[in-house]
Amino acid sequence: MDRRNFFKIVSTASAGVAATSCGKKEALIPLLVPEHQIAPGEEQWHPSVCTECSAGCGVIVRVMEGERIVERNGQKFRERIASIKKIEGNPLDPVSSGALCARGQAAVQSLYNPDRVRGPMHRTGDRGKAAFSSMSWDDGIAAITKAISATDKSKVVFLTTAPAGSRLAGIQRFLQSIGAPAAYTSSLADFSIERQAAQAVFGWTGMPDYHVSQARYVLGVGADFLGGWVSPVYYGGQFGRFRQGRLGIRGKLVQAESRMSLTAASADEWLPVRPGFEPHLLVAVGRLLLEEKLARAAEQLPPGVTESILGADLQQLIRSTGVDPNVLRRVARELGESEAPLVIGGASVIHSNSFQAIVASHYLNIMLGNVGRRGGPQAPHPASDVAAANPNVVEALKAAQVVFLDGENPVYTLPPSSGVAAALASKTIISFGSFIDDSAAYADVILPSHHPLEAEAAVVAMVGGPATSVAVATPFVRPLYDTRPLEQTLGDIARKLNVAFEPVTAKSFVQPLLPNGETWDNVALRGGLWLEGEANAQPLKPVSKNMQWSDPTFSGDALQFPLQFQPYLSVQYHDGRGANLPWMQELPDPASSAMWGLPVEIDPKTATKLNVATGDWVRVESANGKLDAPAYVHPAALPGVVSMAIGEGHTHYGRYASGRGANPISILAPAQETSTGVLAFGATRVRVARLEQRPSELIQFSPQDREQGPWGHR
């Protein structure tokens, strides 16, 4: 699909809107009569937005004929419908650049998932047992209205996965109009530490953008930007051009991470930094840059920061990171000498001091003089400031009386030690989700909204700033089930509550951003509004004037629980959302090649000590819980650090995810990142013991992870 073809075949993108909103006038078409506009063998491409994560990739969707069986009055009919065949990146969209990650492409399997909620339902069994029976929309809305009216509005908690954009704006407006607090997110992938660090150092709201493709030397610290961090699609594209996109120039990537992530695997060098010592590594590099007079813009550093860096004990800092001092010195020199150096700090695994690390990374960029320049960190687009991020979600949930769930799954993404799951047992819970997941199993009422591929949306990209980048979706297929757009449901509730509420549509969201001469219709046709230039660039106004670093703290007694535990966001499951997609389940895990279940990654030394081999089952135990899972002896794991991808271990999430594997979040301590209060999911200590039984096999696509066998060739 190139641009020319794309324009050619994008057809009446908004035709579906009318069909959806005018209710259930569903024509039953007997066999072999095509639905309007759908001719066998002919393809149409429609623009849309991927909402599998909050990066906001603009996509195009291939629509062709499909056939489904519907039952009416006990009789079965074959109905020819427009069905979605494939999702690709929108070539016009700067975030995806026409490409798309595995999970984004698998979104079609959530649309056509056999376990989708097919209509409004109410709970008939105990909470958490997922026993529901169907109800009418009217009854559902009445029930919700009743619950809200009877509640102190400050105790209404709305959890949403919606990225910055029209859906979130609509939710916020709804909450405002009924007098409830702003929406929360309970996902581990909201990157709120990164946002807060950007706010503190640069005064920016939103995610800074890193122009990797124009850098020559990148030092990544803690940010798995080619894997589970922010947008592997966007940064993958940047990385490709960084490496081989410029004649005669090849960028060098050095990645410091406490795990061999996809980014570390792609890097030219990996610095295995001890978990939680990322700030120390960054300060050491800063100190080396200053010492060797390689900090070309040292004068831009706030004096307090320079002072604290120079006051540090370099030897001590380097030693604490666990990285070879000579290597670190060389990397610092190479970075400082590079024509276009860039430091990317992030918290793919959140430790107690992750904020400090990201702040330090920003100061490094400042002293390297690259902020706002080509190849440096860029200010985010101002419209992205609406992303729901609140570290106090646990307290809010505990105090809540009515909880709305819009795609969020707090029972899964918040550790039981936080007490959330237990607290939910006494709330009125309403889910707008498409699936009965761990949390929806607690719901009183499920009012399923349209699948994102059936709905309209405008999403502000998390990356690509400061240029305006808003991807837009307008509906183009009929909803498969008795679902409604969330905006409509919220409007109905507001009307019942007698509250004035104007829903936010994609159009009304985009309209104010339109430059002169641009029209909504054009934007809808192209699938987004992408403006060149940096007219709205946020100015640099540093808030923080100093820099601190402290040793990480870990929850759990070091003697009893000698190992550090790192759950991490994976490319296939993200924060656990991807687990109900069969394509993701059968996608070999990049580290272990595991399919249909995730292992615990243990380093070879610890494994030998524990007498554990790949495929053996182990019990990972913290002071707050335990989980059993197969082990993968990871040749590149840090000694004493046990990692596990997040994604499996759902109690409820359809046939592909329910009851499969273990959830690493379930054994976490309720530790907080010190500066921000965000759940520090990498700050729990554990012990590991080998289990005698193997309840099931560790399924690997490629069990052999070395090119040579253990015998033979010498």
Partner: protein, 231 residues
């Protein structure tokens, strides 16, 4: 070698590849690959026409990871072709190793003789819990149990691009054809094109000093070129 107009080839830049496996899912979506389940996957029967082989090299802390996307190499001297007793796999005029599902009786000899192990067998009739089948690409046939299947270089996309070009009475241009994996790759690590056209990007990459071919020593003459990591 054929005198045909096109000779399709691919170049994969390992310096760009991040191992994200977007290509793997793209292939599933495009080619109606059978769905695995834990039981079949445990038996080694999961199907990935393109896979990303990963190897660890060295020992901690001096350890590196090698990612190699492996798909059918579309060998010019394909070991899979002569061994098929019923001509279910053959070389078409554009240099593709074509698998004719209807002709296959399932001796699986081709699978044994493929040094890249990129051939997959349908052990059973495939099953998609409804309505997942709504996603099926009508351009690609569903394979029945008992037959071999493998990467086709997205022959249906080649066909569509040719038809599009013909409809506009113009020759096929370099870059017109993109198999699903190539299309999906965020890092643009994969390039597809006509090796008969010396000006095509893939031809030029194939000439690059970094170009190697997988198991080149076997003389299979693959048409997939791997550009090794620069250092």
């Amino acid at each position: 070698m054929s005198n045909s107009e096109h000779r399709w080839g691919m170049a994969i830049d390992l310096d760009r590849c991040t191992g994200c496996q977007a290509c793997v899912t793209a292939c599933h979506a495009e080619n109606n690959l059978p769905l695995s389940d834990p039981e079949s996957a445990a038996k080694g029967r999961a199907v990935h026409w393109i896979r990303v082989d990963r190897y660890y090299e060295g020992e901690f802390p001096n350890i590196r990871v090698k990612h190699v996307p492996v798909l059918c190499q579309q060998c010019d001297e394909a070991p899979c072709e002569p061994v098929c007793p019923v001509y279910a796999t053959y070389h078409n005029e554009e240099g593709l190793n074509v698998q004719v599902y209807n002709r296959c009786v399932g001796t699986r000899y081709c699978g044994n003789n493929c040094p890249y192990s990129v051939r997959f067998f349908n052990w059973f009739d495939p099953v998609w819990p409804s309505p997942l089948e709504l996603q099926h690409n009508p351009d690609v046939s569903i394979r029945m149990g008992g037959v071999m299947e493998k990467c086709t270089f997205c022959i249906q996309r080649i066909k569509r691009s040719k038809d599009d070009a013909a409809a506009e009475s113009r020759p096929l241009k370099d870059g017109d054809v993109k198999p699903a994996c190539v299309q999906s790759c965020p890092a643009e690590a994969m390039v597809f094109g006509d090796l008969n056209d010396p000006g095509s990007k893939v031809s030029q990459l194939a000439e690059s000093g970094r170009a190697t071919r997988l198991l080149e020593e076997l003389g299979t003459k693959p048409k997939v070129f791997y550009l090794q990591k620069a250092t």
